[in-house]
């Protein structure tokens, strides 16, 4: 590594020569010889040693203490530093031009790393989405994750539709989600991937297969950690977008940080959509059931909206706390249910809603008691509820015709069932670094669940709703050894502990109102372990290897059922897996303008006792069971190319071979006919590509236009076992193109306008069999921000 401190050169124009009386600040702008604005230039008063840094546009403002002349020094890596004498009485705006260090600019290596880069270089197999780069888009967090290699986010429809996240072949609850390191377990439908705007996040970390102990949870196949803006200083970011299908989205993120450390932070967001996009479907005659084939109709019972407000208040940078924030998350969502599992199952009035009401506490202190000991504590409690509303006794078809019956009933199942999970969560982390090479960390997560449900239509039954409690405690301990700059390794162990209490209510005598209970209690304890290591070969190549034996404990819902469609199964065992990763990344700068990053990863998963739904005995409800074993071997690769600051091109691709590893089905002595067959209904070959070009000084000096393009590809896959049958159902290949254009303008470039078009070619796209996603849709977004 060439080391730095390049200096010298100057050049000053004092363009403005009119005198000014009393002036509080001195402003100016720094450019290079070509007129490009220079961000990050250190501006220092040589006398007082006070200073500031130029912003993204090369501008700075320097507070003045007196009207006397002063000497400012401008320093920036790769440029010759410059000193300028300034008389504040005569100068109001400085235009500084800095000369490149002629000698060895081309060999300067920038050693400062972004946080994103730092995380990517950890030993864990982790991908990081730099969410700030997507803040101009209308994406929700789910769709942003869909662009990560190894990840597929499948959705059943438009805005607010159910999203199914898969990571290296693991799906649903096998992958855990965190927000700022806090598990998002049981946050309810009002706080999910499909309704969190990307603007809420600063970055998103995707841990594949091996999860650090700091994220304490029983993740079987990886974890996603959404990092929100950490509010180190005051900021404001407001955006509103409007798009096809009457879609409105608003996000307000703001924080006030007083010099005293007092902090107030607020994130508010709203999504609304009619989701009335066109679908092509066989429409059944409402009376005869006869299909009118291939009709193009609008969706009509698919309105979704959610509103969420997150407020936090507290202090930062105090002797007793680096951060102490008390908060409250309040939100609700409303979702109409248009279809069942197939497009031909259509509903016209059925809907669901949910609320979140969650007080939170966040505490962090570095160097507590002794230097190197950092402690974090988080707690929250969710009073939110979920309700299923099916009280209109009608049968609909896609022409919005219906048959109505004048007796009580529903479209699918007459209900007003409402429940709340009373979920409490407490996480504690401590890490301690000692010597130059060692660090240990400990984490503990306590999660408790206590469901209460009522159905106001059948109050008599409420007697039989009984305590269903579950408590989980997951603790982890890790040791990290940093041998030198080239090599480090982490070893860790985790302990999973679960206790379930279940009081099954029943009627002992058959007489009206009688109730009795059978009490059940189950406790489980399991141990997992793993390691992650990395080695750097020189400055351009990194190797990573990691392994974990992981468990996922059954969720309370899987143990107790949901009293509607899911029957409980108290005999569920945890799912377990051996996860292996081996990866390499390589980056290279070619000449002054070209830069390239290449990464690749091979993974292997050997998982047992997958928890999957089956129908219960009389086939009226689903029940979760430990059903089968799978292996998955796969590769994923990523490539990114940069040309100066103006052009980037990237692509990633994932191929996985997810195979049924259950050799003998229960009770069989002959090998299963689908042993080693590819697991059906799972995308196995998919990728993304993106490109963007930035036009500087577009229309006006200093204004910027960025044109971006994104491509999604998913190979066709079968709905059922590939080896069986000759006339089969499947999900066809998907290829969708998105374009967006962002113009940044206004005073200090604080305004941004984005126009987006998704699915430009109006292709029929499906994530799930028969469930069409929206066709071509456009949206516009306006954003104002001060950082």
């Amino acid at each position: 590594m060439k080391h730095t401190k390049e200096l010298i050169l100057l050049y000053i124009f004092l363009l403005m020569h009119f005198p000014i009386l009393a002036q509080q600040v001195l402003k100016g702008k720094v450019k290079d010889a070509k007129g490009e604005q220079l961000p990050g230039v250190l501006v220092r008063d040589t006398a007082t040693n006070k200073g500031t840094v130029t912003d993204l546009n090369g501008e700075f403002s320097f507070p003045l203490t007196s009207q006397s002349s002063l000497t400012l020094e401008f320093t920036s890596m790769g440029y010759q530093s410059t000193q300028v004498n300034v008389n504040p009485e005569t100068s109001t705006y400085l235009q500084i031009q800095m000369e490149e260090n002629a000698q060895d600019l081309n060999e300067v290596t920038v050693t400062g790393k972004s946080i994103v880069k730092e995380i990517k270089e950890k030993a864990f197999n982790v991908d990081v989405v730099d969410a700030r780069k997507l803040h101009n888009t209308t994406l929700d967090i789910g769709h942003a994750l869909d662009r990560v290699s190894g990840v597929r986010v499948r959705e059943s429809g438009g805005v607010g539709s159910t999203m199914n996240f898969s990571l290296n072949g693991f799906t649903g609850k096998q992958v855990k989600f965190f927000i700022d390191g806090i598990p998002m377990d049981n946050f309810g439908s009002s706080f999910q991937l499909n309704n969190l705007p990307i603007n809420l996040a600063e970055r998103i970390e995707v841990y594949k297969g091996v999860v650090p102990v700091g994220l304490g949870a029983d993740a079987l196949g990886g974890a996603v950690n959404i990092i929100t803006n950490q509010a180190g200083k005051s900021y404001l970011d407001i955006s509103y977008s409007y798009g096809s299908f009457n879609t409105h989205k608003t996000v307000i993120n703001t924080a006030y940080v007083a010099p005293s450390g007092f902090t107030f932070q607020m994130n508010a967001f709203q999504n609304y959509s009619d989701n009335d996009y066109w679908v092509t479907v066989d429409v059944a005659d409402i009376n005869t059931g006869k299909y009118y084939p291939d009709q193009t109709v609008r969706r009509f019972n698919d309105t979704y909206h959610n509103e969420t407000l997150i407020t936090q208040i507290g202090v930062q940078n105090k002797p007793y706390a680096d951060k102490l924030l008390l908060g409250l998350t309040v939100g609700k969502n409303y979702k109409e249910i248009q279809t069942g599992a197939r497009l031909v199952s259509v509903f016209g009035d059925w809907n669901r809603n949910g609320t979140i009401l969650m007080p939170t506490l966040k505490y962090r202190k570095e160097d507590l008691i002794t230097k190197g000991l950092n402690v974090t504590l988080n707690a929250n409690y969710n009073f939110g509820s979920e309700q299923n509303i099916d009280t209109v006794h009608r049968r609909y078809n896609w022409f919005q015709q219906y048959l109505e019956y004048d007796t009580p009933g529903g479209e699918r199942s007459y209900t007003l069932y409402k429940y709340q999970n009373n979920n409490a969560l407490l996480t504690a982390n401590a890490d301690y670094s000692f010597g130059a090479h060692h660090a240990i960390s400990f984490s503990n997560v306590i999660n408790s669940f206590d469901r209460e449900g009522t159905n106001e239509l059948f109050p008599d039954q409420n007697l039989y709703e009984k305590p269903q409690k579950s408590q989980k405690n997951i603790s982890g301990l890790s040791y990290r050894y940093q041998a030198n700059d080239q090599f480090n390794i982490s070893l860790f162990g985790k302990n999973y502990l679960q206790a379930n209490y279940f009081a099954l209510a029943y009627n002992p005598s058959g007489n009206y109102g009688d109730v009795a209970y059978r009490n059940e209690k189950e406790t489980f304890s399991y141990q997992g372990y793993g390691f992650a290591a990395t080695y750097f070969f020189g400055d351009n190549l990194q190797l990573k290897g990691s392994f974990e034996k992981s468990y996922r404990l059954p969720e309370p819902e899987e143990l107790f059922g949901d009293m509607v469609n899911l029957q409980g199964n108290l005999d569920l065992k945890p799912e377990s897996s051996y996860n292996y990763n081996l990866g390499a990344s390589y980056w290279k700068t070619m000449g002054p303008s070209h830069r390239m990053e290449i990464g690749g990863n091979v993974f292997y998963r050997d998982a047992k006792d997958f928890i999957r739904p089956r129908l219960n005995n009389n086939q009226t409800m689903q029940v979760m069971d430990n059903l089968f074993n799978v292996t998955n071997i796969g590769v994923e690769g990523e490539l990114r190319y940069f040309y100066k600051q103006s052009f980037t091109l990237g692509a990633n691709i994932t191929y996985q071979s997810l195979r049924n590893n259950t050799q003998y089905e229960e009770g069989q002595t002959v090998e299963s006919v689908v042993y080693r067959d590819r697991i059906p209904n799972m995308p196995y070959f998919y990728g993304n590509a993106d490109a963007s070009y930035t036009f500087e000084n577009f229309i006006k000096e200093g204004k910027r236009l960025v044109i971006g393009y994104n491509l999604l590809y998913v190979h066709a896959f079968y709905l059922y076992w590939p080896s069986l049958g000759s006339d089969k159902f499947g999900v066809p290949e998907q290829l969708s193109h998105d374009l967006n254009m962002t113009y940044t303008f206004g005073k200090q470039n604080r305004f941004q306008f984005t126009a987006e078009c998704r699915n430009i070619f109006d292709k029929k796209i499906y994530d799930n069999f028969s469930l069409q996603k929206p066709g071509r849709n456009v949206s516009g977004k306006i954003r104002y921000f001060i950082y």
């Binding site: 129908l615 049958g725 006339d727 499906y766």
Partner: protein, 427 residues
């Protein structure tokens, strides 16, 4: 009727016709594990020019846990040979499907967890292959049975709403020609609800035996009336409830999703009870498993007829039946009472003579993992084809009532047998 349907399917349901190449690759992958090759027997077994009269239809479900679909296979003969779902068969959408044949058409119904869905219909073409007719939409139903040239279906709420919906499907038009409601709390009129176990056409009426269920209180399928049987008698096609008849000598007729009442050649109806009523998960029926009779033209139980099966069958009870004609039934026998268990031993039971004989030649009980309940009878008084899955695979057994023997016939590779039926070539 079926011509434009293929286009629709492609757009709406995205049906993928699998090319030979693909399943050769799939089969080759399996062959690597010593199972299958890409051999001749995966090709359709049609010999051109052969004069096809009829084919047996076999629905098979893979014995695995996820991504399960049924496959429809055709066979010329059930007494020998092998048939496989590997690279062969028409995939059915949805894990749980049920099949019924009427008017020489084969209907594949989805059990869609309460959701409506498409019913697919097939007839047999001159090559002996299944040919798809137009789909139509139906609700998820719990009972369905041929009545005249219709299929009568019912969607029965197990809790909540009090109305069961009925639908009459016209098998010529392949449309629902009438639908309506019947209040099952009123039918039961004992504070519980009537959950129809099946529907049977008897004369010009529809007899609907039911189990009385609580429909609530964490004991949905329990009852406080474990020792009574009921049949709701409906006029057809008006579906007016004429009366509900009751008999306290037996427990409820049939079982959940199981036909327990059969009209024989002289117009009498015979019905069996398994005597498996429960309350809070505990078996509460005290009456034994027995057959009773409703005489032709009468809508009351014949108090002079009562055939206690447990007395003549070593204490075993009837779980299912297949009628052979001439008063002979193949009965599926079990010795442990359970609401959802299917008997693994077969008996021949004659309701006229009130005789019972155990059938020999079926697989050993401890090796049986599944017994097919939707089987095929030649109605010649003696011959039925019954599906068995053992630890070693699935076979169709041919049962002969005269000798009370069963012999192993066609092997079905790839899964359990969910239904055996037969279609003649369509006109």
């Amino acid at each position: 009727m079926s011509v434009e349907k293929s286009d629709i399917l492609f757009i709406n349901q995205v049906k993928i016709m699998k090319v030979k190449f693909n399943y050769c690759v799939g089969a080759a992958a399996l062959a690597a594990f010593g199972m299958f090759g890409c051999s001749e027997d995966e090709k359709p077994t049609v010999t051109p020019g052969e004069d096809v009269q009829a084919r047996y239809i076999i629905a098979s479900t893979p014995t695995t846990s996820e991504g399960v679909a049924d496959y429809l296979l055709t066979a010329e003969d059930l007494s020998s040979g092998t048939i496989s779902t590997v690279g062969n068969g028409i995939e059915q959408d949805g894990t749980y499907r049920y099949y019924v044949t009427n008017n020489n058409k084969f209907f594949s119904l989805l059990y869609g967890q309460g959701n409506p869905g498409a019913v697919t219909t097939y007839q047999l073409d001159e090559n002996g292959a299944l040919q798809k007719l137009s789909d139509f939409q139906s609700e998820t139903v719990q009972v369905f049975a041929p009545v005249n040239d219709d299929i009568l279906m019912m969607k029965i709420p197990r809790s909540g709403a009090e109305d069961a919906s009925w639908y009459q499907l016209d098998t010529d038009l392949l449309q629902i020609k009438a639908n309506g409601l019947t209040n099952i709390v009123d039918v039961a009129s004992n504070g519980e609800r009537a959950h129809f176990t099946w529907l049977t056409q008897v004369g010009e009426k529809v007899y609907a035996p039911y189990m009385s269920i609580k429909g609530c209180c964490n004991d949905t399928f329990g009852t406080s009336y474990p020792d009574s049987a009921w049949v709701a008698v409906y006029d057809y096609p008006s579906m007016n409830l004429e009366k509900v008849i009751k008999d306290n000598r037996i427990s409820y007729i049939g079982r959940y999703f199981t036909n327990g009442l059969v009209e024989v050649e002289n117009g009498d109806a015979y019905a069996f009870s398994s005597a498996v009523a429960t309350s809070n998960g505990v078996a509460t029926s005290t009456s034994p498993s027995a057959f009773v009779r409703i005489k032709a033209g009468e809508t009351e139980f014949d108090q002079d007829y009562y055939f206690n099966v447990e007395d003549v069958a070593d204490g075993y009870h009837v779980t299912n039946q297949t009628y052979l004609g001439l008063g002979n039934f193949v009965v599926f026998m079990h010795n442990e009472k359970g609401a959802y268990t299917t008997g693994k031993r077969l008996g021949i039971l004659n309701v006229y003579d009130e005789t019972f004989t155990w059938v020999s030649g079926t697989p050993a009980v401890e090796e049986i993992t599944n017994v097919t309940t939707n089987n095929y009878s030649l109605m010649d008084g003696k011959t039925a084809f019954i599906g068995f899955t053992t630890t070693e695979g699935s076979y169709v057994y041919q049962v002969d009532a005269q000798s009370a023997t069963a012999s192993r016939g066609l092997k079905v590779e790839g899964g359990t047998i969910t239904a055996i039926s037969r279609l003649a070539v369509a006109e």
